[in-house]
Symmetry: C2
Subunit: 490 residues, 2 copies
């Protein structure tokens, strides 16, 4: 089985022909979410990038085992092994059992992924469900002399590892530079070197998530789970490991070190990283006030958003860029994507109603050839969408009579168009059949709430209360604000 | 915090007042699915029964931690510890990794539950993710002398247990009778007694799902996971344990024995069991050809089905019976439920448009009082739906002018009706997603036009004209009539 697919391997810094270990099977591992908050823009890009890869590989005839994990323990606030566990902290703040927090945000992640038309992975292992495998991995690394125990915690010995292997080969970082530039943080004094990383952490008395181990009652280090679970479900060597570029260092670098230390060789053959997103040119961050959840995007309820953007607009927007380019979110860019998506969806309907001619003035096989060439070139969805939009134009030209297609060609183009846009790019029509009605309700509610303001101004509180109560019965919650009102629907 | 809720405790064979261990918190554990096949009718009833309990407890002001597990390992074909692991067998047949099977059917279970409007549990632990807790539990039971090891497997010693405690107290079975009536099965020769059950099984060479343990590389017995996971997330003693009546023996009986053997006391204080379903009077079974999946029900694609039945029809049908009654599925009964559901949903719309009168001829507070009395009586949804349908009739009588309600009473009834039918019984209109939006618009227009009538009555013609004109801009044409108004949409 052969294909022309080339993928960029971060490890080699170049594109290479994709040849799986044992075709037609492909093993693919992608880092999933740490489930301590609502899914946001930063979750959408890797999910859509590797969903596209899954869909394209499947189209090419491969049988993909796609493993995407759920991090529900071990991810500390500070990547340098300090601070609280992210999920335990959220649980403390919300007075919940950590697993309730994990469950809630796993559900909201799944719901957002479904709306983005991201297919579920074949296996979705949880870190907390693989403590045994993680302990076994730590034991192996200890046995091989690449880790040390201090007071119940086990750390990876980067210096010892680097004497035999190369720490930094994925990210290109050089250990000497790291040593010169890393300073010791509070609470990490039991590490021999500040760039060593935790494989197992002894739990402090207040730490809720804890398991027995040969070293202490504690919990696994964050990097460990991906090495343990990828091996468990894909074997010691597998084809593709993916994730966001922010995970390349230290997370993926540490994964490689763990695998090599335990098994003597790399686990993943191809490392793929999607590039970062920015918002109006800035990095996204809670402290910057530009942290936008997917729910906020879908409903337009964030002050930076001029309107709501449908999940398909987001998907289309993300696919408009090549996954290795940075991608800047702005209202202008999203509105342009929305227009493009609408043109595409309209062309699909037009295509279904084209009148055939006796001869074709357009070369239909070019459509799928161009799309495949683009996708074969390291999943260049930007170029693939250029080809799609060119044919959107062509379809409109045929409708206008400026070009013609035979009945056979129309049928072929319909099939190819559905294949490329629906099956591979995963773009579906998610505009409510009744978009107008949604708008109408919004307009009616606004009219009612303006009448209510008027009633309040003339001290007719019976009427203003009636409007609020009747809306409440219909599931519309009204909130009075300084400027007037806000409303939301259940 | 007090309530009048009474629940039937299988353990005591009677109803008792519900008093949680530490109100307002309630801990509830319900046996979830073994994920090796598509969800079927047998999954719908316990899910809906305990969803109702969750919703009602929440309405009463309790804070429920609801744990429902996923059995993804250890459930053998034969409850007597023989045969293959159900998931591993399916994986072998479909040539998948067992966890791929578990993932696929967990997803289809979740999807079916969402369609049935069953709320997700607070925590959904997987058996395979709690091997450590299960091994620790086996160790405790061994230490206390209620288990023995044979060739890498560990069995619960029912006879030893029964000398100090009572095996059979939940199901009412007597050990002597069991001893007389149980014959030894092939492959179970290492058990001292045929009714002993496996806590840990040594894995045969071809068994894929396996973990290291003090006794062998193997896997936990099926009954063990629920004891381990309920303790992990709800503590050694908790309020409610639920499940289907088919699980009472041996599964729940063995759970009790495990808890008592390990901790010296029962774990769950109240055991609740929903009764079984039959299909056209017969037990459901694959060999009988009457095994109907939920997907088949929703699409009507099973030869026994005369039509498709919507998820809400199924929910309504299940709620029409008390959970401790048997429930027979037939086309006639489902069609009757469908008609009842449609009458209920139509009455909801009628209620939103009732014209108020000066006085009420009906006693609105009776509605919620009757519903609560029914639900307080061991969740008697059959009686609660009788009350609902009586008020469906009342609403239609008001519409016809045979009874009257004041504006306040209409508002109160609207709130109560939504509370009982939507929030507590979980019945929503799933006929069309956009149908809801259309209804919302209609409700909003009616509210606006009533405000317009009021404005006209108080000679505020500026407001009444504004409403008519703004509606006209939105495409809504208003016609004044003798009784009030009519409207139509462009």
């Amino acid at each position: 089985m052969t294909s022309n697919l080339q993928l960029y391997n971060t490890l080699l810094r170049k594109k290479e022909n994709f040849v799986p270990l044992s075709a037609p099977h492909v093993g693919m591992y992608v880092c999933g979410p740490t489930v301590y908050g609502d899914p946001h823009l930063g979750h959408a890009r890797p999910a859509i990038t590797f969903d596209l890869l899954l869909r394209y590989l499947t189209y090419l005839g491969y049988k993909v085992r796609y493993v995407r994990n759920i991090t529900d323990v071990g991810h500390l606030e500070n990547d340098a092994d300090a601070g609280e566990d992210k999920i335990a902290k959220k649980a403390r703040l919300e007075q919940l059992e950590p697993m309730e927090v994990a469950q809630r945000y796993t559900s909201s992640y799944h719901s957002a992924m479904q709306q983005l038309n991201v297919l579920p992975p074949s296996i979705e292992p949880r870190a907390s469900g693989h403590i045994i495998e993680q302990i076994a991995l730590v034991q192996k690394i200890l046995q091989h002399g690449f880790a040390y125990e201090v007071d119940g915690s086990v750390y990876f010995d980067v210096e010892a590892y680097n004497k035999k292997h190369t720490y930094g080969k994925l990210s290109g970082r050089v250990l000497d530079d790291l040593m010169a530039n890393t300073r010791s943080l509070d609470g990490q004094d039991d590490k021999r070197n500040p760039f060593d990383f935790a494989l197992w952490k002894k739990a402090s008395p207040e730490h809720i998530m804890r398991w027995e181990s040969p070293w202490s009652v504690g919990f696994p280090g964050w990097h460990l789970e991906c090495s343990a679970m990828s091996t468990r479900y894909l074997g010691e060597t597998f084809d593709i490991h993916g994730g966001g570029l922010d995970l390349m260092f230290p997370h993926h670098e540490c994964e490689i070190a763990q695998s090599v230390a335990a098994c003597g060789h790399d686990a993943a053959r191809i490392w793929m990283h999607n590039n970062m997103i920015t918002i109006n040119g800035q990095k996204m961050g809670k402290s910057l006030g530009n942290f936008i959840t997917l729910e906020e995007l879908f409903t337009g309820s964030h002050r930076l958003l001029a309107q709501a953007y449908s999940p398909m607009t987001i998907r289309f927007f993300i696919l408009q860029a090549h996954y290795r380019s940075t991608l800047d979110f702005s209202n202008e860019a999203l509105q342009a994507a929305e227009k493009g998506l609408q043109r595409l969806l309209a062309a699909k309907k037009t295509l279904a109603r084209l009148k055939p001619s006796d001869k074709s003035t357009l070369e239909v096989p070019r459509f799928i050839a161009d799309c495949r060439a683009a996708l074969d070139d390291d999943l260049n969805t930007a170029m693939a969408l250029v080809a799609v939009m060119e044919w959107v134009k062509n379809i409109n030209l045929v409708k206008a009579g400026a070009e013609t297609l035979t009945a056979d060609d129309i049928e072929q183009l319909s099939k190819d168009f559905a294949l490329i846009t629906s099956d591979i790019l995963g773009i579906k029509d998610d505009s409510q059949a009744d978009e107008n009605k949604k708008d109408l309700s919004a307009d009616l509610i606004t009219l009612l709430l303006n009448l209510r303001l008027q009633a309040k101004a003339s001290k007719d509180f019976a009427t203003s209360d009636k409007i609020r109560n009747d809306l409440a019965v219909m599931g519309v919650t009204v909130k009075d604000t300084k400027d007037g009102f806000e409303w939301s629907m259940a």
